[in-house]
């Protein structure tokens, strides 16, 4: 009996169905027309038509960040693929599992400088976990299977599958592999038992402990295990920008965010602790500042990470543990519970007393008595009105830091931003991906007038898919973060950081079919936000808050300085 043969394009669709894909974010073009023709005929997933390929990839990325599932994007060859690169690199830097399918010119045309040909595999190689060029229709199914597997396991990351057009026309029998194993890829998940024991012992010996939690806690779904450990020991916890929500921000043990714009208490505790446990974090330059300054104080370091290459890269550690952070923490919690040893309580009490002194600095205070809208105030009000239950996406700049500092995240996967690459323009597409994944949730995008204009065309996509996002534009008229650096480090020479001729954002939003508001006075802030979340619950509301143009983000550690060298307000 002759087996039923499917075309490559049909196989692509079948594979996505088999993976349980809900949404494909994409944009059509010549090289992917066969695939789009099959999308037209299917009902298994929803295709979301963006207005720019960069946004497709960001939306897929945010879908993944907010759900933990693999995000999927589909773009055409040439310019479709190059437009996708920023999105791919953004996901790569933050270890987000994603599969990006790119069309390619027909096999026979590869290397001929054909119309819309680029070397997608070559261009994306440095910013993907792995990539593939499919050269035979029979390879489509196993390659897509591998792509999902590689993207989601170990340290997650984006995988690109480049498919030439003729391959989508060829036919073969379809068989989606149930499971896949690769002899060259076997990520470790279980940590080394001996090392975990040493780490538990070291934790109990601590007199001035700190738990430093990174994005790995969120990505590794280790929030509950981390919370259990911190509560069991009574140790202070600080989170990186990517780790926010991994530990409840309102908990008394929380010191808030650390790093360049971290709190005084978090950075001081980090610098002066004697035992540090880093969980799914990587000691990057925005977190510990200058590693030489960091190394001035002696401390013992435990580092848990899924990626061996993150360990001892910037800071030498004493107890490295390679493994899934959740599994390792659970094992450590078990050891801490069965042993009847307790940490030195007197020392811990003294340490907390010191931390309280640092806390008393109240480093996040700001001037509340002016007639200008303070950006921090807007974020605080947003937090109050949404009761901390919204998903918050942000772009990159001052507003991103204020969002991180003043919205107290108490659940993982609620704070969606580009930490590693720092990509302006992610905020709106991120909010789209999140809202589609969580149709009933409140989704707010905190942005700047520079960033929002980098993907503002997506307001059109939001209309098409009826996404009731709440866009909180903290409009200071400047590329604020750039202006802040120029004020501090370039003697107030504001080179090209003032954005003249801004559009009337409220009208612009209305032109796209949404609700627009302009808010100029502090007393209008709260009512505007309330209306947005009640009266206009079902609509996209674009709130243009005219904020104090001179406001800066504090505390700040200047680049290259040490953790205890903060500029305070």
């Amino acid at each position: 009996m002759a087996e039923l043969e499917l075309t490559g394009a049909e196989i692509v669709i079948r594979c996505l169905h088999a993976e349980g894909v809900e949404y494909v974010f994409g944009y059509p073009g010549g090289a992917v027309l066969n695939i789009y023709d099959e999308i037209y005929k299917q009902k298994g997933f929803t295709h979301v038509l963006v207005r720019h390929e960069q946004a497709a990839v960001h939306a897929a990325d945010a879908y993944s960040r907010s759900t933990g599932k693999v995000g999927v994007a589909l773009v055409t060859s040439g310019p479709g693929a190059t437009n996708a690169v920023t999105g791919i690199a953004t996901a790569y830097m933050d270890s987000i599992p994603m599969v990006v399918i790119t069309g390619q010119v027909p096999t026979a045309a590869i290397g001929q400088d054909a119309f819309q040909e680029v070397d997608t595999v070559g261009i994306t190689r440095p910013c993907v976990k792995h990539n593939f060029l499919v050269k035979d229709v029979k390879d489509i199914a196993p390659t897509i299977k591998k792509a999902f597997y590689i993207a989601a396991t170990g340290r997650p990351g984006p995988v690109v599958v480049d498919i030439p057009k003729d391959i989508t026309q060829h036919a073969c029998a379809f068989d989606y592999p149930e499971a896949i194993s690769l002899r060259s890829y076997n990520p470790t998940s279980k940590g080394h038992a001996g090392q975990i024991k040493r780490a538990a012992q070291m934790l109990l010996e601590a007199k001035r402990p700190v738990i430093y939690a990174g994005g790995g806690v969120v990505l590794g779904n280790a929030s509950a295990a981390l919370t259990e450990m911190a509560r069991e020991l009574g140790y202070p916890v600080t989170s990186t920008l990517m780790g926010l929500g991994g530990y409840k921000a309102n908990d008394p043990l929380s010191l808030g965010m650390l790093g360049m714009h971290g709190t005084y208490e978090a950075n001081m505790a980090m610098q002066h602790c004697d035992v540090l446990i880093a969980v799914g974090a990587r000691f990057d330059d925005r977190v510990i500042g200058n590693p030489k300054h960091f190394a001035k104080e002696a401390r013992r370091i435990i580092h848990i990470d899924i990626d061996p290459s993150s360990i001892s890269k910037r800071v030498k550690v004493d107890v490295p543990i390679v493994g899934d952070v959740g599994q390792v923490l659970e094992e450590m919690n078990r050891l801490l519970k069965v042993g009847n040893e307790r940490a030195d309580q007197a020392a811990l009490k003294a340490w907390w007393a010191q931390i309280e002194l640092w806390r008393a600095q109240d480093c996040l205070k700001y001037d509340r008595g002016t007639d200008k809208i303070k950006p921090q105030y807007v974020v605080e009000k947003l937090y109050e009105i949404t009761k901390g239950e919204a998903f918050v996406t942000s772009d990159v700049g001052q507003h991103q830091m204020w969002a991180a500092q003043y919205y107290k995240f108490d659940q993982p996967r609620r704070w969606i931003n580009s930490g590693g690459l720092g990509t302006m323009g992610v905020g709106l597409p991120y909010a789209m991906g999140v809202q589609l994944a969580h149709p009933d949730a409140m989704v707010a995008c905190i942005t700047g007038e520079g960033s929002i204009q980098m993907n503002i065309q997506e307001l059109s996509t939001c209309k098409e898919y009826k996404l009731p996002l709440k866009i909180i534009l903290l409009n200071n008229g400047y590329l604020g973060m750039v202006r802040q650096w120029q004020e501090f480090f370039y003697e107030e020479r504001y080179a090209e950081s003032y954005v003249a001729s801004l559009p009337d954002f409220a009208k612009l939003a209305e032109a796209y079919g949404h609700v627009g508001m302009r808010i100029e006075k502090p007393e209008e802030v709260e009512p505007a936000l309330r209306r947005a979340f009640t009266e206009h619950k079902e609509q996209l509301v674009f709130m243009n808050f005219i904020t104090d143009p001179r406001e800066n983000v504090y505390p700040m550690i200047p680049a290259g300085k040490g953790l205890s060298e903060m500029i305070l307000v």
Binding site: V121, R125, P126, L133, S184, D307, S309
Partner: protein, 164 residues
């Protein structure tokens, strides 16, 4: 410190560029790199000679292991090993005296004359890199017309093996 690293990887298109790209993107230096399929045609074996502090070498090792196509690797410099490199040198050999001298030098270094022309000899020499250097040093600078070297290949001694 100089390190010689052996890598077993899937014999896939693009595998070499992943390794080369990794070294250039992260600023690691490559003194030489050789690659060819093994007795198992699905596998390629690469030998990389690099230099770096212990921390850099540790990162190189971890980053190589992270490449999806890399199956196994070994830092040969961690133990007993053998290194060999092949060199072809074209030398001036016009007069009888020059021809005799070249033949004599080649013999001393256990090289072979593999091409003889009116005015030149081409000599083939294998050995550790230092031996090839020594041979070049022994030649008068004006005598060397062309040199090509393969870069080192390495293998562990005795029971030390890199296999899957």
């Amino acid at each position: 410190m100089r390190h010689i690293i052996s890598v077993l990887m899937e014999n896939e298109a693009g595998a070499l560029s992943r390794v080369a790209g990794l070294f250039s993107a992260r600023g690691y230096n490559i003194e030489s790199l050789t690659v060819a399929p093994t007795e198992d045609a699905t596998l390629s074996r690469m030998t990389i000679v690099t230099r770096g502090s212990n921390e850099v070498i540790e990162q190189i090792t971890k980053q190589l292991n992270k490449l999806i196509d890399v199956i196994k690797m070994q830092d040969l410099s961690d133990g007993e090993h053998i290194e060999r490199e092949l060199m072809l040198v074209k030398v001036r050999a016009a007069s009888g005296e020059q021809r005799e001298e070249m033949k004599r030098l080649a013999d001393i270094f256990r090289g072979r004359v593999i091409d003889v022309a009116d005015k030149t000899y081409t000599i083939e020499l294998t050995g550790p890199g230092s031996k090839l250097d020594a041979f070049l040093d022994a030649l008068e600078p004006g005598a060397i017309l062309e040199t090509v070297r393969t870069g080192a290949s390495g293998i562990g001694r005795g029971d030390r093996m890199l296999k899957i």
